[in-house]
């Protein structure tokens, strides 16, 4: 039905949150031996502030553009964040480089959904259905899905 990738809904997420990813990783105590920096990590540029955009694909115009932050070294390895900006808003933030292995891999993965969670509270999310462990009709009455159905979508 739909061939082209639709424009994602704009999500307002402060740039401070993105720095939060780096913070989350860099502040974690060095107690995870399995998370040595990735062996394949290329030599990193001297700049280390993830919040200073390098401007990859930062062409003008009104369409979405991406900016890739500088590599930030952390005790677990390098972290690099890429933002997609559209209409002056950050619509996506992702770690393009992150330490791999062990617990820190999980922590890295964790940071991204938390961004998403903030996105949920930041906008009145347009949602079609709600998944949850609501098996019975009693559970349904208490569920977000029930509220959604009452609102009439």
């Amino acid at each position: 039905m739909r061939k082209s990738h639709p424009v994602r809904r704009a999500v307002l997420v402060g740039a401070a949150t993105v720095s939060g990813i780096v913070l989350l990783l860099s502040l974690k105590p060095a107690a995870d031996p399995a998370s040595a920096p990735a062996a394949a990590a290329p030599p990193r540029p001297s700049g280390s502030a993830a919040a200073s955009p390098r401007g990859a694909g930062a062409a003008g115009g009104t369409g979405p553009r991406t900016v890739t932050g500088a590599v930030a070294p952390t005790p677990y390895g390098d972290v690099q964040v890429r933002l997609t900006v559209h209409g002056g808003r950050i619509v996506r933030a992702e770690a393009v480089r992150a330490p791999r292995g062990g617990l820190s891999d999980r922590k890295t993965a964790l940071a991204v959904p938390r961004l998403n969670q903030e996105a949920v509270s930041a906008q009145s999310a347009r949602i079609d259905a709600v998944s949850g462990a609501t098996y019975t009709s009693a559970g349904y009455r208490r569920s977000l899905q029930s509220a959604l159905d009452r609102a009439g979508g």
């Binding site: 639709p6 996506r92 993965a109 998944s131 949850g132 098996y135 019975t136």
Partner: protein, 245 residues
């Protein structure tokens, strides 16, 4: 099946979609008649008692038992279509029935279909031309709030299923011991195109616990998962982030 199904259908010819919706609802009632383990006269109950052979049963029964056998195999036995040694494909029927209902309506020409069967969601198409279907994931530890939102952007079919203890307490059994699964998890949400598998894999990953469950979901192609532990730690597969939004 003692649960509630919600439908959100957009677009298409109104009469054709209404007819398909009626057929989909009838299909759910029929699934209940065939598979309910609470009905002594259901085909599955009679099959379990040996009063019917599989050949005597409706074709859906063989279809669901085949899917259950595959789920058991692909989950290394962590999903089981039996309960206490007796035939009981309850764990697979809800997802299978909801997915089937959604496809029936989409086939009638609806542009966007969302079917929620007791918390297990199948999204097909897009509700509006430039708005992909989006499924919220209930936060298991904060009732009424969302833990994440999953987007079907760029795909025609996406299912979101959650297994957990939020409502019924420990109801997922470890097929190896026959007792309630000892899990450090409170909920597992699985995102994959087909609801049958999302439902089965969420159940199996829950029984496996956080460490093994996460690694196992990561190993499955085109399957993403979000696991929430009793300690309120969220763990997810590496590709889940691409599905959030």
């Amino acid at each position: 099946m003692g649960t509630v199904f919600s439908f959100d259908v957009r677009g298409g010819d109104a009469d054709a979609v209404a007819a398909a919706l009626g057929a989909a609802v009838a299909g759910l009632h029929r699934a209940d008649e065939l598979f309910s383990t609470y009905r002594q006269d259901s085909e599955i109950a009679r099959l379990a008692r040996g009063e019917l052979t599989l050949a005597d049963c409706s074709p859906e029964v063989a279809e669901v038992l085949d899917l259950g056998a595959r789920a058991e195999r692909d989950s290394d036995g962590w999903f089981s279509p039996r309960y206490g040694g007796a035939l009981d494909p309850t764990g697979i029927v809800k997802g299978w029935a909801a997915g089937r209902a959604a496809r029936l309506i989409a086939a009638a020409g609806a542009r966007g279909v969302s079917v929620n069967g007791g918390g297990d969601v199948q999204l097909l198409g897009a509700p509006e031309p430039h708005r992909p279907g989006r499924g919220g994931v209930s936060d298991p530890l904060r009732p009424g709030r969302l833990a994440a939102v999953v987007s079907a952007a760029g795909t025609e079919e996406l299912a979101v299923a959650t297994s957990g203890t939020a409502e019924r307490g420990a109801h997922i059994d470890d097929p190896r011991t026959g007792r309630a699964a000892v899990s450090d998890l409170v909920a597992v949400t699985v995102v994959t195109p087909r609801l049958t598998w999302a439902d089965c894999w969420a159940t199996a990953a829950f029984a496996r616990g956080s460490r093994d469950g996460l690694a196992w979901l990561e190993s499955l192609p085109d399957v993403e998962g979000l696991l929430v532990t009793a300690g309120d730690e969220g763990l997810c597969t590496s590709g889940l982030a691409a599905r959030l939004g």
